[in-house]
Symmetry: C2
Subunit: 141 residues, 2 copies
């Protein structure tokens, strides 16, 4: 595989499609998000709104930071707070026709990248493991 072929790689061939991506909704209580993260084992998952549009990302780190008080773990916050109050809205988003080099560059600082089409529909995620698996394959040949 030439370097050209790598740069022309279609990211849609590497993504985890939306129906295989664990996610939570903006209006869910924090407790629900923690349960999804613990049950799936994922550190972070996308947050969608009720119209299934991407709004941000929520992680175990964000939830723990929110409930850890000075004296003790304020776990009553888990039922009082909503995902939208704690999530990170400021995330880079890939479009379905972005090139592979754009994906690598953004993946330097993100453990996974959310992918949308040009109408703003959530199409899935591109995790770092998929990028590394493809690059390993390319460099081996």
């Amino acid at each position: 595989m030439t370097t050209e072929a790598v740069l022309k790689k279609d990211i849609m061939e590497l993504i985890i499609p939306a129906d295989m991506v664990a996610n939570v909704q903006t209006t869910n209580p924090l407790e629900h998000a923690l349960l999804v993260l613990v049950k799936t084992g994922y550190s972070a998952v996308p947050v969608l709104d009720t119209a299934y549009r991407l709004q941000g990302v929520i992680s175990k780190t964000m939830i723990l930071n929110d409930i850890l008080g000075i004296e003790r773990i304020e776990f009553e916050k888990l039922s009082e707070r909503k995902v939208e109050e704690v999530m990170n809205r400021d995330i880079p988003v890939l479009k379905v026709d972005d090139d592979f080099l754009t994906a690598i560059k953004l993946a330097i600082d993100q453990t996974f990248l959310c992918v949308e089409d040009h109408e703003g529909n959530f199409k899935g995620i591109l995790p770092r493991s998929a990028i590394l698996k493809f690059l390993n394959h390319y460099l081996r040949d």
Copy 2:
């Protein structure tokens, strides 16, 4: 940069050296490990023994899995349990002279790789971001 040059890259030029790596000890209570993970923001960190030798990795996911009971979050476990009872000992380890291709292959399934010398001394970690940053640089030219 040719593909040859990438494959000959010295991983020691990319690692985070041991003195810059947040870590906990096998004998620490789980509460201490959670505090280190929350304060640093890291999902997981290496676990060293009292002789500073690598023993495994501990993560927020492992700690949360351990303290989440069926009915409630069993926070008292945080002070009762030790890191060594919860950590993952079964981790791949890079040697200082392993090649870059070995690192990429192992990084497909690990968010970071621990690096040791041939006497078993912990030298640091190679996070996925460092591998991606180098590959982005190589593909760009």
